[in-house]
Symmetry: C2
Subunit: 403 residues, 2 copies
């Protein structure tokens, strides 16, 4: 029996509970969903991509259909550097089949079973399950309004190191955090980098959302600050996804880090995927070279802005006064903090019966470190009318539920 032969980690690893939650609301007629994390299909540049795919195959078919470099298409690397206004050694860039893919390679490159990965609590579930599947011990550090709590981080690292544990890296989502909707302040970015340099602990900066800013000033990434202000090319590895700007069906992301680490991540890529898809890489290179990217991102921001504004208005108008929430300037999520004794998993069941759905916050914590008094709302999927109506109902439900 094959089921007797499964590896230890396969038998014990968690699956994404979010999938099952979302599945449990499938088929509810008239459901208003704030649960998903999907970009709006209306933002996909399908027409431009259709032309570019056709061109790439017609003009470079014999090149792009052949085996490509495991480290990624050199032309795409060139275009990425121009787009980001960065001049780094191309050997410090790895193209991957999406950002989860790059996160997995970094984890395999660094983590032995029993090693510690520090993450924010809450954090992106997809990464947490990938970390746990490497046999890592995951330790979550709470967020305050400026980002990861550095006092608690330092205490925890000291404690872990005194206990002989190896802390392999700190995982953070500084811009429009999933699920918390927060953006790390400039000062906190610098403090975190200084701490990481002093302690020689690498940082994994997950950056799927920073380009989706609808108001306010963009902050430099941790990668940029570390390289340009601290002249440190090793402490931060940044992973940028194309999923929220081109479309997640096209599996494409890139990682930037130290030459040493990127080389090892590339060895893992060679063993697991051989190389990323050549065709989509060359299409992305042409999308950038053709000047399509910046206007497209502008369009995405213009598209999402009214949804964020509607959600901010609706939260102000309908949520009971004892509910706290983040006020993001971009991304696709906001995060609600409920009173300590209010359980969002129970609220989820109640809301589902009233055809409203969201993700209970407990799903975004490492196993055993769950907190139950918070929840995530997505505002990129429902219509403006649904946001109005859904938030009105949710506010009412909360009051009935809590009092």
């Amino acid at each position: 029996m094959i089921s007797d032969k499964l590896s230890h980690i396969t038998k014990t690893m968690k699956s994404s509970m979010i999938r099952e939650l979302v599945a449990s609301t499938r088929g509810i007629e008239g459901l208003i969903s704030f649960a998903g994390g999907f970009p709006s299909p209306k933002t996909f540049p399908a027409e431009t991509l259709s032309k570019l795919y056709a061109q790439v195959l017609a003009e470079e078919g014999s090149t792009v259909l052949q085996y490509g470099a495991s480290e990624g298409d050199p032309l795409l690397k060139e275009e990425l550097q121009k787009w980001e206004g960065l001049q780094i050694d191309p050997a410090r860039i790895l193209i991957t089949a999406g950002s989860t893919n790059a996160i997995y390679y970094m984890t395999r490159a660094l983590v032995d079973p029993g090693d510690v990965i520090i993450c924010e609590a809450p954090s992106f579930l997809g990464s947490l399950v990938a970390f746990e599947a490497s046999g890592a011990d995951l330790i979550g550090i709470p967020l305050d309004m400026e980002g990861i709590d550095l006092v608690q981080l330092q205490q925890k690292v000291d404690e872990l190191q005194s206990a002989g544990k190896r802390v392999k890296f700190i995982y953070t989502i500084p811009d429009f955090h999933n699920p918390a909707g927060l953006t790390m302040s400039y000062q906190r970015r610098k403090d975190l980098i200084e701490y990481a340099i002093a302690m020689d602990i690498p940082i994994l900066e997950d950056n799927p959302y920073s380009r989706l800013r609808y108001s306010g000033e963009a902050l430099p990434t941790l990668f940029k600050i570390a390289n340009e202000e601290y002249l440190n090319d090793e402490v931060v590895t940044e992973i940028v996804s194309f999923s929220k700007i081109l479309g997640p069906g096209m599996r494409l992301a890139f990682a930037k880090g130290s030459k040493t680490l990127i080389e090892r991540m590339c060895s893992w890529q060679q063993k697991i995927n051989i190389a990323p898809d050549n065709i989509s890489q060359r299409v992305a290179a042409r999308f950038l070279a053709g000047g399509f990217m910046d206007p497209h991102i502008q369009m995405c921001c213009d598209f999402y802005r009214p949804y964020l504004n509607k959600m901010l208005d609706a939260m102000a108008k309908y949520l009971p006064s004892y509910i706290q929430y983040t006020k993001p300037e971009g991304g696709i999520f906001t995060w609600l903090k409920l009173p300590e004794d209010m359980n969002a998993d129970e609220l989820f069941e109640r809301a589902k019966a009233h055809k409203i759905s969201f993700i209970p916050g407990s799903k975004f914590y490492p196993t055993g470190q769950e907190r139950y008094n918070n929840l995530r709302l997505n505002f990129s999927f429902s219509t403006l009318e649904q946001i109005e109506e859904g938030m009105q109902s949710l506010g009412k439900l909360m009051d009935e539920f809590y009092t």
Copy 2:
């Protein structure tokens, strides 16, 4: 320093020696190469694919650019079943980003460090390094003219099991073996399956080449025999790659196996790649639905046949009588067995100086189990004239070298 933090497996894992060998001949002017394993770009259906990519994006852009199912596109699964003339539960099929990717998932699903994987010796290096990166102990079993040597296999398995080792699966490439050019006989296929069922040891059937048959009768795959003749839906997992029929730049393959195993492989896919690229999956579905596949494969076979024939002629004409070789009916490789005391690694250096390149056989064995008196020749890359000229030179070189 990041180099102090690498995981144990990352520090110890092998890279592909073939890459380095091929790199060592780069820039040699006038080199005749029998080394690579690349399909000929002349076989790529770039024109048809150009149209299909454009159509898929234009007609289904908002679907294919969105997140897709981790198990793969249901439409592609349907077309694959029609193409293969198989009716199995779609939950027994997983689409992946190439066959190495599927091999990695199966390995992660089954293998704990210290477990044993049995492979043919020689075998495909890309799989061997992926197996070794899982911490598996790799045991190679020699091939005879009908395929894997069952007597030696049984002895070895008994020995391993007596020593308390867990044999997790047997890895085989039954059709147009890479590197050996061999095709496993029908009887050996049945004997291997019977043995595997009796011993409850899964088989991983790697099938990148079976469609590239230029003469003779196709044999049923191990998967088909197990399912249809032994009514066993668990013992064989077959992985089919599109790399040699559509083009490896488009990362696409599919695995068929038991529902239990495919489900676990899918969990790994979700953690590592989220899902395969949606666009290329839908394009492949249309390629099959449009009836392009069978004529295209016919064209590939017609294209490669003269190269195989030229290689067979040239081997007969120019190789010294003490060299034995396989006479494949398809695929892209042939395999030479040299006298025991003739070292192909040394011959490689001598040949390189004379602008001829191949892969010494020692590269295709598990670490520590190398054999040095054989070599692999590829016949899908050079021109017919180069095959004639290169084999004439190689034959002469062998005689000078050996006598």
